[in-house]
């Protein structure tokens, strides 16, 4: 328990230091950090509808992040996460365009297909790794490109809009295929429920099951696994399948929640962003939940910068990058530990 409190304290100090670095650099750019953060907060949470928009961005990022916790635990760099998101979106679109498309069960069938498509795409990486000894970064990157290629083929080929050949996307789904929402502002209850269930479920998996512990052990030392009577290969495969399936859900959220159609860059780079988030959070499930929300707020609120301050949207990219880099450097320096021990000592 004591250790957990210390962990939270350390991360809090680190967060403050990171923000200080970001403030400093923004000041160097000749901008006012306060007004930038003010407009980001206003843009992402200034009103209920803005908050909903943030949630819609948060959904795929948080899903992809929790997916990555599985592969990272098994010691795997799942660069293929983008492709897995894309294939999940393809699976969802496939259902939305089928005879299920205008029925009330469409979103639920989409979920199943997104899980399956994404899981399958992840599994390819796993099989190549375990059976073919192909490094997961290479196969993942390759499969990302293949997945993008498939989407473009589908959009200008079989799933093209009536009479137009354009890469702007497929026809908008029937309303019945959209992710169910409640209220006038379209709160995506189903999506939020899925996220929270997955996070709690994953927390349970890693804390209280043999499966979770073995997954973690596989990531630390594949060689020793055999001595404890389990095969690391099996756990690598499972981690890729689970990660792919959950990433598929992120794709479903993008297709049926955000765009309501299939577009070429459906993953929006959220997969890569999630890799950074999970790295920052050192695979801690609750930190991941929080940090992924912060990043989503940054993305949504960033669109306000141009309107309110006349600053380019790319500033958000700089803030994100600064955040990740400062965080990781601070982590390596272990500055917070020293600070914390100083604080504790001075209190005594």
């Amino acid at each position: 328990m004591n250790k957990n409190i210390q962990l939270i304290q350390i991360n809090f100090i680190r967060l403050v230091l990171t923000l200080a670095i970001i403030f400093f650099v923004l000041t160097l750019f000749g901008t006012s950090p306060i007004s930038i953060f003010d407009s980001i907060i206003y843009g992402s949470m200034g009103s209920y509808s803005k908050f909903i928009r943030t949630l819609i961005v948060w959904a795929p990022i948080s899903l992809a992040s929790v997916a990555l916790i599985y592969t990272f635990s098994a010691g795997m760099w799942n660069i293929g996460i983008e492709g897995q998101i894309i294939m999940g979106a393809v699976g969802a679109t496939f259902v939305a365009r089928s005879f299920f498309g205008d029925t009330i069960i469409s979103p639920y069938v989409q979920i199943l297909f997104a899980l399956g498509f994404g899981g399958f795409w992840g599994l390819i990486c796993g099989v190549l790794k375990v059976k073919g000894n192909v490094h997961e970064i290479f196969s993942g990157l390759g499969l990302d490109f293949v997945a993008s290629g498939i989407v473009i083929y589908l959009i200008i080929g079989p799933w093209k809009r009536e009479g137009i050949a354009s890469t702007s996307g497929t026809d908008v789904f029937d309303k019945a295929s959209w992710i169910p929402t409640i209220g006038q502002n379209e709160f995506p209850l189903l999506l939020i429920l899925i996220i929270f269930v997955l996070y709690i479920f994953s927390f349970f998996i890693f804390k209280y099951t043999s499966f979770g512990l073995r997954l973690k052990a596989t990531g630390v030392n594949e060689d020793a696994a055999e001595r404890f009577y389990f095969s690391s290969g099996k756990y690598i495969l499972l981690s890729f399948f689970i990660a792919g399936a959950i990433a598929g859900l992120a794709g479903f959220s993008q297709a049926s929640g955000a765009y309501h159609k299939l577009v070429p860059s459906i993953s929006g780079g959220f997969g890569f962003l999630s890799i950074l988030i999970v790295l920052i959070c050192s695979r801690n499930i609750f930190f991941t939940l929080i940090i992924s929300f912060l990043f989503s707020a940054l993305i949504v609120g960033g669109s306000q910068l141009q309107i309110k301050l006349g600053l380019d949207h790319s500033l958000i990219g700089i803030i994100q990058a600064l955040f990740v880099l400062s965080w990781l450097i601070l982590e390596k320096l272990k500055l917070e530990k020293i600070l914390l021990s100083k604080i504790i000592r001075s209190n005594e």
Binding site: S210, F211, L213, R214, A217, V220, Y229, F230
Partner: protein, 478 residues
């Protein structure tokens, strides 16, 4: 050369690693003795500049050595020979040399540099082909190259940190000769070792450390019994292998394939009774470890075990313990409790941490593991890591495959480990262990398998062998 170590103290958190250490060495070979955790490594690291002490100073020929920077130590003439060679396996011997020598730009006058290097090789009568890759040399040869590199750089104080653990008898002899000739040139040697016989044979003076402090300074002639008594508080008498133990059940070792002369032989069967301790002897670099692992993986040879009952032995009956504890045996970043959880994970889907805590605290006590649940295994000492691996042995009847179970451990820890292993004799089908230490093989085995190179040369009951015979077998003399 003269080295004076004055009042060196070093603390890691609450742990006192070195406390007020004073040692003065004028010449010759000086031994640094002490059980695991006595503070030898810390002292060595301080002298070689890898860590800075909290207090104290070191004088070399009366001049103060700037502590805490390896470069300063090297420039002042301190050379450290590590336990495992720290060189570049993929480079040639010459390249390794060129990287690690003092000359500002050795490539500028390559011919001259080469000659200089050659001269030092000849001086110490070491014949090694310069152009071959370092990784193709034996560990002993690599250590010799390292030693020469230190000498080339003008080392006047050489520290050897358990250098002989990987040496063959022949190499050891050569190394000792070289070391003695060095002392004649006025070079001081600090020799860190667990092996008393080596120290008695080689060293002139010795310091015994215990819990971070100097407890005795002694000089030749040494009395081994006296040293042991000083190093350890309780010197309980050695446990002997229980020879009276009998069991009616038998198992068979089926050796197949080529024999040691490369001829195809028929399968040879050896029958032994349950509960036998089988030592697989071999020199460093022989395949005795591979035979241990082979019973678990069947990768190396077709030699296998067959029970009299002809029941296929399930995988879970085997418990394999690799010698490379942290690289192959345990999970570096997982804590002690998680290891016990992992051990339980083959029986259950859900982990009841309270139950696991109960079992683990019993095991931690029983196996005398000095660690908390939350300690990551990389924080444990070698002896504690080994005891942790032993504590993870299955409770039921097993076949233990122990690869060098006491490698790198001091006498006390090693005996402690053996006590735990031998207490399982009445329970287990067989206890296999490998070792390069013939004394250990002789001490604890009921049956000795002698391995020379890649082949099994001999399998026999200890009572029908002599120690010299085993030494001959493993040396390839039949």
């Amino acid at each position: 050369m003269k080295i004076e170590i004055k009042n060196i103290s070093k603390k890691f958190g609450n742990l006192v690693a070195n406390s007020e250490i004073n040692i003065s060495i004028n010449n010759g070979i000086h031994a640094l003795l002490g059980e695991n955790g006595a503070g030898k490594s810390t002292l060595v690291k301080i002298i070689s500049g890898q860590i800075a002490p909290d207090n104290g100073e070191i004088l070399l020929d009366g001049e103060k050595l700037i502590l805490g920077t390896p470069i300063e130590s090297i420039n002042s003439g301190v050379g450290l020979l590590n336990q495992d060679p720290l060189d570049f396996g993929n480079l040639s011997v010459l390249e390794t040399f060129l990287i690690g020598i003092k000359d500002a730009n050795p490539y500028r006058n390559l011919k001259q540099t080469k000659e200089n290097i050659l001269r030092i090789f000849q001086k110490y009568k070491i014949n090694i082909d310069f152009s071959q890759k370092t990784k193709n040399l034996s560990i002993g040869e690599r250590q010799q190259v390292e030693l020469l590199r230190l000498l080339y750089n003008g080392a006047k104080l050489i520290i050897l940190d358990e250098p002989t653990s990987a040496f063959s008898l022949e190499q050891k002899k050569m190394m000792f000769e070289t070391l003695r000739s060095l002392t004649k040139e006025g070079i001081i040697i600090i020799f860190v070792s667990h092996k008393l016989d080596e120290i008695i044979e080689l060293c002139d003076t010795a310091t015994i450390l215990k819990s971070g402090s100097v407890i005795h300074s002694i000089s030749k002639p040494f009395d081994s019994q006296d040293i042991i008594e000083k190093m350890f508080e309780d010197t309980s008498s050695k446990i002997k292998s229980d020879k009276t133990f009998t069991n009616e059940n038998n198992f068979t070792i089926l050796v197949s394939g080529k024999d040691f002369l490369g001829r195809n032989t028929e399968d040879i069967e050896h029958r032994f009774s349950y509960g036998s301790v089988i030592g697989i002897a071999g020199l460093q670099g022989s395949s005795n470890d591979s035979y241990i692992k082979n019973f678990f993986t069947n990768e190396f040879s077709k030699t296998k075990l067959v029970l009299d009952s002809k029941i296929k032995i399930p995988k879970k009956t085997y418990y394999y313990m690799p010698s490379d504890r942290i690289e192959k045996g345990l999970f570096r970043d997982l804590n002690v409790l998680e290891h016990f959880g992992l051990f339980k994970s083959s029986e259950t889907r859900f982990l009841n941490w309270n139950k696991i805590k109960n079992i683990s605290s019993k095991k931690i006590k029983k196996f005398n593991i000095r660690a908390n649940f939350s300690n990551e295994v990389s924080e444990l000492s070698g002896g504690n890591q080994q005891r942790l691996m032993l504590s993870l042995m299955p409770e039921n009847q097993s076949i233990l495959l122990l690869e060098q179970p006491t490698r790198g451990l001091d006498f006390n820890s090693a005996e402690n480990i053996w006590e735990m292993i031998l207490s399982r004799k009445s329970k287990d089908i067989a206890i296999f262990f490998s070792s390069t230490d013939i004394d250990e093989i002789w001490e604890y085995s009921d049956i000795v398998i002698s391995v020379s190179g890649k082949s099994i040369v001999n399998i026999n009951y200890k009572k029908e062998l002599t120690k010299d015979k085993v030494i001959n077998y493993v040396s390839g003399i039949v």
